[in-house]
Symmetry: C2
Subunit: 344 residues, 2 copies
DNA sequence: TGACTTATGCTCATTCTGAGACTAAGTTGC
DNA sequence: GCAACTTAGTCTCAGAATGAGCATAAGTCA
């Protein structure tokens, strides 16, 4: 036991801190992430080879001289790279794995990336182009959307892929270990046929499992492998950005349940169905309408607005509600409790 | 909107990543943190002036050449600086505030610190010395221990201090803002006398408020101030380590409720009272015994062991239980639900 | 006007909680 | 050996929260 921590030694290699933002909005009942696409961006970042192209999150390096805090640095990059001004920021996680930052050939310049979650309300007319746009987050994680029942991709691609991976284990012990992980993450039924439940918050765990099983593009890319089988469908991202997105999705799905963060995604006034659809978009499954209403109204987090709304599809016009901002300052503001319900 | 992220520019100042560990154990029904004390340690770290001395967490810099991941680096430092081998690690938060790393005079060498939480079970005979020991975490946060009712320190020091701070606001608006924050964090009663609830998870928010109100030593130290009033009692720590500890306490208090992490703090076999006292030590308030038992037994997380125990104080011997490790692999393993109860 | 759509109110059985009474099985003092 | 005390463990009970569904209200559309 020797304490020889030494911050001052000259031989400590420089570390660059990368800041990435998962900027989330819900448009047309679909969860969206702000995406920056293209080789220019990658080139500007100086960490990829020129022939790499793909989707990325808004990101940039932390500059200790300019930015007083990490979050301030992040806000600067978001301001520079997006037309948005999210009202909510939250730090997610700091990733420092070697080899997880594709294109980074120079090992002496290690990038550690700090991921942030930002929430905003943007109407669908927000700036759109080939290079910069809001992408549906289920394009990157098709297996996470259970709103119309269990996604096909699970039977069609993931379960076979995982079974192949399990079978390829060297030892019986390793095989059992893989089986367990698959069961916990994806609810794969075990030997006895007992299927585990799907936990919608385990987004990162599932992605990491697919990465470890070489079933997503990033694992192939990072390890420089060639594969002769078909990868699991779903868009990939540059660097470790899909992992950061997975972290954001899991975190947001969890946070929703105990903090009133949904309202950051809503317009100033909204109907309860609107609110429900937004929550459903995030958590990826449907809710029981009447109970959702009871919960939200009973929580005291919203107040009714005088006018009515009808522009929606034909049907009885819904009452408009507004978030009571002051509850943020009251007791520990609760979230939106939710319980699965596959039926409408 | 310009994307000019540039990771490769030479002028980007070097950033050193500091890794700090909050290693928690519960001994004799008291929550403990592993502390490294002394000027040598601070000197070795090269970031403080020689005349500074105080309590610190085990910590050290992240070395990108040696450590494959941040967590691996942290484990190395914990191994080197403590006699422990915690079974549970979790990343807490990454702090990058300028001026929050005391003694750091050289602004070009900015330290960003990544805090980790580690849990371990250690009997009270673990290595003890003046320099390296387990300290009661309520020594650093006396106002967080409500096990014997509301701590005196709140009326005696904190509430007067906060009132002074509120009164010292420049504008009426700022005054109201301060009042609100104090109310939310500390349950200070508002103008109408309505007292808000105490949320045991808001440990960090409370510490930050005291820091901002210049009521703890660290705020005075970091800003180089002189004060003519008495600070709120409670041990301080070097650097931003008390803030990291606060983060750990809040996180652990929250996590306890939805993940079975308490068991990391327990011996292999334990009585239910034992388990309850451990939970109480962490969350800082008492629980209803019968209901706690009902919950734990009903959760299926523990199984009874054949033998009985009696070594405890005189009374009926309690049954011994053991954590069912396999539940970690089952569905989303639940935590220990708990509800306040001031009575035994 | 009738079919259809969405909003909103209400009921009901079940489970979960918080609180407490009560019984069981040891130890300690005399 | 017995009274007094201490901790363990069972059981009850009322009220709140939850999950599911029925019924009615208030619009649109053809």
């Amino acid at each position: 036991m020797t304490a020889e921590a030494d911050f001052s030694s000259k031989q400590m290699p420089a570390v660059v801190i990368g800041l990435s933002a998962v900027v989330v909005a819900v448009q047309g009942h679909e969860p969206k992430v702000f995406i920056v696409r293209g080789a220019e961006h990658a080139l500007a970042a100086g960490v990829t080879s020129p022939n790499e192209e793909g989707d990325a999150l808004p990101f940039g390096p932390f500059d200790p001289l300019q930015h007083k805090t990490l979050e301030e640095g992040l806000r600067t990059w978001v301001r520079d790279q997006t037309p948005l001004s999210p009202g909510y920021f939250e730090q997610l996680y700091t990733f420092g794995n070697r080899g997880r930052y594709a294109g980074q050939r120079d090992e002496t310049k290690r990038v550690v990336s700090v991921g942030y979650l930002a929430l905003t309300h943007e109407k669908p007319n927000a700036e759109k182009s080939e290079r910069v746009f809001f992408g549906n987050w289920y394009d990157y994680f098709p297996w996470e959307d259970w709103r119309d029942g269990k996604p096909r991709i699970l039977q069609d691609a993931i379960e076979p892929g995982l079974k192949r991976w399990i079978a390829a284990a060297d030892t019986a012990e390793e095989k059992e270990h893989r089986r367990m992980r698959a069961q916990v993450c994806f609810g794969l039924s075990d030997a006895k046929g007992a299927a585990a439940a799907w936990d919608e918050e385990k987004v990162l765990e599932r992605y990491e499992l697919l990465y470890g099983a070489n079933l997503v593009y990033e694992s192939i890319r990072d390890k420089g492998m060639k594969v002769d089988y078909v990868l699991v469908p779903g868009r990939s991202m540059l660097y470790d950005h899909r992992r950061i997105l997975a972290t954001a999705m899991g975190r947001l799905r969890g946070k929703l349940k105990y903090r009133p963060v949904v309202f950051e995604l809503m317009a100033a006034e909204f109907t309860l169905l609107n609110l429900q659809k937004t929550v459903e978009a995030i958590v990826g499954h449907r809710l029981h309408k009447q109970n959702f209403r009871r919960l939200v109204e009973g929580s005291g987090m919203v107040e009714e607005v005088a006018g009515k709304k009808s522009a929606e599809a034909g049907g009885r016009p819904a009452a408009l509600f507004r978030f009571r901002r002051d509850v943020l300052l009251e007791r520990s503001a609760p979230g939106v409790k939710l319980s699965a319900s596959m039926g409408g």
